[in-house]
């Protein structure tokens, strides 16, 4: 009975089929990986922080959906007078998940405002928790050199999955947990709505990263990447800046984990594997070109399309390949990484200098700047700076003498 409900939940509200299904799937994964890869580009491409623990931040987004949002929805629905099966103990939380979600879904079908508010709540909480995890990661690791930092982050990615696997109240342990369908009110395929929302969030995060990179903070990040000792020598707090970058990018990355949870209406730690959420984004970044958002986009588009096509055509590929098709993706990942590093180490679109918007570079270079230092204090005004204060005092003295 429970198995039937679970199967029904997984396949409900999915009407798009065939090649359209593949396109929706590619669009969704493209949106998710764009968010992760751009956050990674922000950290590694521009600040030189080799974050090999992207999976930690993504899994935090997934855990937010399963451990916080689902509990909140159950509580609110229970308070609204709907009778749910017991869900407070670990056993009930896992084994009563399908029937409870089924009951909640039927209640959610006429409440679009509730569903949207739950989505916004989840995004906000995953952003905050992602940033907190970024801060926690930064505590022991940010002072380490690149190699050691990478090792620590890889370990943390595995540790987060082990937590999810062994603590049932987070995401149902190895069985996973069903998530209420917050788009139950939509009279069609919910995955289409999720794909559109994910693509829009990807676009918004592109703008945020672009604005940050073209600001003085972006130039500071590049300076830290090139030579952190020099930046430290001019009085900048390199550790603090690196921590802030890690926190900000972690928050953005966590959003993609939450979106994935809603897309599947199901969260299990196995969906957030280190290989999928760390190494593939790294391949996208290196393939497109680090330090360059357009390159990251291109890398994402190529890799995601290739992966989804392989997954969808595994039956055909099995006939052609001489080894099990299950290994094909991993072999491709390793082979592509090596090929890119050997033949195009700068990626398909190489990095460029930072662009300051609103500045006419030609005019800036062409025009002759005439600075008359004698007139500068007058131009600055009487009250600015220490000299201005003395001048003001002097002016008052002169006025008193005149009187």
């Amino acid at each position: 009975m429970i198995q039937e409900i679970a199967l029904g939940l997984l396949t409900s509200s999915i009407a798009v089929e065939g090649s359209s299904r593949l396109i929706v799937d590619i669009a969704m994964y493209f949106g998710l990986f764009v968010i992760v890869a751009m956050a990674l580009n922000f950290q590694y491409g521009n600040a030189g922080i080799p974050n090999m623990g992207c999976a930690v931040q993504v899994i935090i987004g997934g855990f937010t959906v399963s451990a916080i949002t689902t509990r909140l929805i159950f509580t609110l629905v229970g308070n609204a007078g709907v009778e749910l099966l017991p869900w407070t103990s670990d056993y009930d939380w896992v084994y009563n998940s399908p029937p409870n979600v089924n009951i909640v879904n039927s209640w959610l079908s006429g409440k679009p405002l509730f569903g949207i508010s739950m989505l916004l709540f989840t995004l906000a909480i995953s952003l905050i928790l992602g940033a907190v995890i970024g801060w926690l990661i930064a505590l022991p690791a940010i002072r380490l050199r690149a190699t050691y930092l990478m090792i620590v982050l890889i370990t943390m990615a595995d540790a987060s999955q082990i937590f999810g696997r062994n603590i049932p109240w987070i995401s149902g342990g190895t069985l996973g947990l069903f998530i209420p369908d917050i788009f139950k009110w939509y009279p069609g395929d919910r995955t289409l709505v999720m794909a559109i929302i994910t693509l829009l969030i990807g676009l918004i995060s592109f703008f945020i990263f672009r604005i940050m990179l073209n600001s003085p903070y972006g130039r500071l990040m590049r300076a830290i990447r090139e030579n952190e000792v020099t930046v430290g020598s001019v009085g900048k707090n390199v550790t603090g800046i690196r921590r802030n970058i890690l926190m900000f990018a972690s928050g953005i990355t966590a959003i993609s984990g939450a979106l994935l949870g809603f897309y599947f209406s199901y969260v299990v730690e196995a969906n957030y594997q280190r290989a999928l959420w760390t190494y593939w984004p790294w391949l996208m970044l290196i393939l497109g070109g680090p330090g360059n958002n357009a390159g990251t986009f291109l890398g994402c588009a190529l890799v995601v399309a290739m992966r989804r096509v392989i997954i969808m055509n595994k039956w055909f590929l099995q006939k052609v390949l001489f080894f099990p098709v299950a290994y094909f993706e991993q072999i491709l990942l390793g082979g592509l990484l090596l090929a890119v590093i050997i033949f195009r180490p700068n990626g398909l679109i190489p990095e460029k200098l930072l662009y300051i918007p609103g500045i006419n570079y030609r005019k800036l270079v062409d025009e002759e700047v005439v600075v008359d230092w004698r007139s500068a204090p007058k131009a600055r005004g009487a009250s600015s700076g220490i000299s201005g204060i003395f001048r003001t005092l002097g002016g008052k003295k002169e006025e008193a003498e005149e009187e």
Binding site: V16, S20, V24, D189, L192, G202, I349
Partner: protein, 48 residues
């Protein structure tokens, strides 16, 4: 009304607009930087 068809094409439109816009921005930035480089070269040539 078939909402799925409408949303499908909205999704495709976003998917097309997004990279187009990003490529346009990238070209604009690269053009501005190339212009500044040319201006610097011209200025240096004039000084010599």
């Amino acid at each position: 009304m078939n909402w799925d068809t409408i949303l499908f094409w909205v999704m495709i439109a976003i998917w097309v607009i997004m990279p187009t816009f990003i490529v346009y921005q990238e070209i604009q930035e690269r053009r501005a930087l190339a212009e500044s480089e040319t201006a610097t070269d011209e200025l240096e040539a004039a000084d010599e």
